[in-house]
């Protein structure tokens, strides 16, 4: 096997830190596979531009293993869903969270991971289209506000109403050249802008963008798991504290990323007028936030689905190995918060069998559990 151990549990101190990924791109984008061995796997582009699969706990240990993406199906017996997803990621050249998400939704819609996952994918795609429209309306209201505040105030409450978009559009076009560009051209650029800004959404948008929502969900997760951990002693308490700490540090970085996004999109009117650099800054900020929350949604879903002591303990055992590592450069951002070094060093986990020892095939019960989580992804 041409696997390279990136990090190992025996590594410690600065040597361990040195082995941590430097950036989100180096950490890779999480791929929602349903094969248990690949449950926390990520895709990334290696230094020669080839695609790589980063597998966590491949042999039940704490290491990360990197293998060429192409050979993954020969290495791990995959479910049919994963076989297709593996191919789709490659054919779309999806190496960032949004690209992987689009590939995953397209594969999920086939039903190869079950009817609930297929329905969830359809819902998510419909919600995405709706979010783009809402975001554009919301941006238009902000542009109107810059010219005519009274008119904008009357339109804000109807953003999400059926009659909202045509009324907002009409009001927008009535402003004529006052918006700084010819309204048709302005409208086209707003449409382009909303293609990536909808992921976060504006504060005025009544339906928060998916990334903004995931950040809020992570905040709830941190509160909940920290409170739970405070009531326990021993392994469970250590694991809960580890998760709460990791979530807290991610929230810190996420808060900063959200701030950057909001600053970049502070005035949609100016972004459109000074297109180019300003629009790229918005896109960059949205993409960065997507990297920050990448991999956390499955964790929060698993935690909130647990409603008894034993299911919480069980969920914790699934969650701990999956907690995304904050890359080295990002971790520096919260050094002042008092957190002591990279949290990866304190990662511990119950070792779970994920393959049927009799057949070497993916354990069907764990596959089903992963599919249940996938059916709740947004």
């Amino acid at each position: 096997m041409s696997a390279v151990a990136l990090a190992d549990s025996v590594a410690s101190g600065s040597f361990r830190e040195h082995l941590l990924p430097t950036s989100f791109a180096e950490r890779g984008a999480s791929v929602p596979f349903t094969t248990p061995l690949l449950a926390h796997a990520r895709v990334r582009q290696g230094w020669r531009g080839r695609f790589e699969l980063v597998i966590l706990s491949f042999a039940g240990g704490a290491g990360h293993y990197v293998v060429p993406w192409q050979i993954a199906p020969d290495l791990v017996p995959m479910t049919a869903h994963d076989r297709l997803l593996h191919q789709e990621v490659l054919s779309r050249a999806a190496i960032n969270p949004q690209g992987v998400r689009e590939a995953a939704l397209a594969v999920a819609e086939t039903g190869l991971a079950g009817p609930d996952v297929a329905e969830a994918a359809q819902r998510a795609m419909a919600a995405e289209n709706e979010a783009k429209l809402l975001d554009k309306s919301s941006l238009m209201v902000q542009v109107i506000a810059a010219v005519d505040e009274t008119k904008a105030a009357a339109l804000t409450p109807v953003i999400s109403q059926p009659e909202g978009p045509p009324r907002i559009r009409e009001a927008f076009f009535s402003l004529g050249e006052r918006v700084s560009l010819d309204p048709e051209a302005f409208d086209r650029r707003l449409s382009e802008l909303s293609q990536f800004s909808y992921l976060v959404g504006t504060a005025e948008n009544p339906a928060p963008g998916r990334l903004r929502r995931l950040l809020a969900q992570l905040d709830e997760f941190q509160t909940s798991i920290a409170a739970w951990g405070a009531q326990h002693l021993g392994t469970a308490a250590e694991h809960a504290a580890y998760c709460a700490n990791a979530a807290g540090r991610t929230l810190l970085v996420g808060g900063a990323a959200l701030g950057d996004f909001e600053a970049a999109l502070d005035s949609p009117r100016e972004v459109v007028a000074e297109w180019g650099t300003r629009a790229r800054a918005v896109a960059r900020a949205a993409a960065r936030l997507a990297w920050v929350v990448d991999g956390w949604e499955t964790i929060t879903i698993a935690w909130f689905a647990a409603d008894s002591e034993s299911t919480q303990i069980d969920a914790l055992a699934q969650i701990v190995p999956a907690v995304p590592i904050l890359p080295r450069d990002e971790a520096k951002l919260d050094e002042e918060s008092g957190a002591a070094g990279p949290i990866e060093g304190r990662r511990r986990g119950w070792v779970r069998t994920s393959q049927d020892w009799r057949t070497g095939e993916p354990d069907s019960e764990i596959v089903q559990r992963l599919e249940a989580i996938k059916a709740k992804l947004t």
């Binding site: 017996p77 076989r83 039903g111 079950g114 009817p115 002693l233 021993g234 095939e361 993916p362 069907s364």
Partner: protein, 435 residues
């Protein structure tokens, strides 16, 4: 006290409309109202209300109030039973006996309990370490008090009446309480899975700790058995490690299996097929293991219960897993199959695959294999038809086409495993240039 909670005392009768109000109040107010409901949680109205509030409860996780009685029960909570007749069993503690047990403790250590209560009043549930230290003191006092011989009657023949078996067990678990709690902290899963090396090491080290301190290990081992998915593995481990099997442990393991079988039998009509298949398989594996490891005394009980368990499993697999599967899978192949139909079909396909070993051990192996083969043949024929329609390749993703093809591949995977489904998918991918 908050306004809402203080307005009028909450009783099961005046809860109408409360859930929608509670979803809008502040976290603090919400927790205050939940605290008020604490003493009446057994009422059906309150249970319904709590179910409606579950999402917010899950997020806030309000703490349960502390009490000495609740702390006392912690080491033996896994051995509690609602069966009041279990007073004679040396391996269970009836819940109904806890009050009497507490009465004995209060009579013998009133002053110490009062001091502990005063300490407890200063603590809150989110201080687990001080609470644990207090609990250790309580368990020590309780083990000493309840374990002390009762005062003998002033008769000519001095004799001490024996303690009832359940009380003996309470004393033994309390004496081993700190080790039991240490074990639970290290291995919080319940039930915990197979006893692998790390788990075996933990059990042995805890047992040695108790033996080294001259403390009884029976209570600890019963707690471990109660938390294990397969208590027979514990018996095997103890025999292997040269500890010997404490009295009652193998009977306890058999009792647990019989209870699981009774629950299984009661749920045949209502349990989903895949859960039935899983439980049937686990029960039969346990039964086989148990036959190999239990001692003579428990073996006679097993000789009675074993065949009954096998008959129940056979009936369940035949009527709920094997016989209905072809119709359920057939319905999923209809073009207009609903999501519910698909879910049911998937449950049957998983169940059938999962039941193979259990079916073989109760004489239904051939029937199960034939059913699987027939259904697989039908699904593969459908795959061939669909591939012919699409020109041999996969439809493009996102086009909404090919649902029947993907569904048939999925069903083959659930029924016969990914290895069997893979060639069909790969053949289609290869023709589409996707491989």
């Amino acid at each position: 006290m908050t306004e809402l909670a203080a307005a009028k005392p909450l009783t099961p009768g005046n809860l109408a409309g409360l859930s929608s109000k509670l979803m809008t109040v502040t976290d603090e107010m919400f927790v205050a109202v939940i605290d008020q409901l604490g003493p009446v949680t057994a009422s059906p109205d309150v249970i319904q209300l709590l179910n409606e509030l579950r999402p917010r409860l899950r997020r806030l996780r309000p703490l349960r109030p502390l009490s000495l009685k609740r702390l006392l029960c912690r080491p033996f909570e896994d051995l509690l039973t609602s069966d009041p007749a279990a007073t004679e069993a040396a391996t269970r503690i009836p819940r109904a006996e806890i009050s009497a047990c507490w009465g004995l403790l209060a009579a013998g250590a009133d002053a110490e309990l009062a001091a502990l209560q005063a300490r407890l009043a200063r603590l809150s549930p989110d201080q687990p370490l001080p609470v644990y230290e207090l609990a250790c003191n309580l368990w020590e006092v309780a083990a000493r008090t309840l374990g002390a011989p009762p005062p003998a009657e002033p008769t000519l023949v001095q004799s001490t009446p024996p303690r009832p078996p359940h009380l003996e067990l309470v004393v033994e678990t309390l004496a081993a309480a700190s080790v039991i709690e240490q074990f639970k902290r290290e291995l919080p899963d319940r039930p915990f899975g197979p006893i692998e090396d790390a788990t075996a090491g933990l059990i042995i080290s805890c047992a040695r700790q108790l033996l080294g301190g001259g403390l009884p290990i029976r209570g600890f081992l019963l707690v471990v058995a109660a938390r294990a998915r397969s208590p027979s593995s514990l018996i095997e481990l103890l025999a292997r490690a040269g500890f010997g099997v404490p009295a009652g442990l193998d009977n306890f393991a058999v009792e647990r299996l019989v209870e699981a079988a009774a629950r299984f039998g009661d749920g045949i009509a209502t349990t989903a097929p895949e859960a039935l298949a899983r439980d049937a398989d686990e029960m039969l594996v346990s039964l086989t293991e148990m036959r190999n490891v239990v001692g003579e005394a428990a073996r006679s009980g097993l000789a009675r219960s074993g065949p009954e368990i096998e008959t129940t499993v056979r009936a369940a697999l035949g009527s709920r897993v094997i016989d209905p599967a072809p119709a359920a899978l057939g319905a999923a192949l209809e073009a207009d199959a609903s999501t519910d139909t698909l879910r049911t079909a998937e449950s049957h396909a998983r169940a059938l695959r999962r039941s193979r070993r259990a079916a073989a051990s109760v004489g239904l192996g051939e029937q199960a294999e034939q059913t699987i083969a027939a259904m697989q043949g039908r699904l593969e024929a459908r795959i061939r038809d669909e591939l012919q329609r699409t020109g041999g390749g996969l439809p493009s993703l996102g086009s909404g086409e090919g649902a029947a093809l993907f569904r048939a591949i999925r069903m083959v995977e659930l029924l016969s495993g990914p290895e069997t489904a893979r060639p069909h998918l790969l053949a289609a991918m290869s023709k589409s240039g996707k491989r």
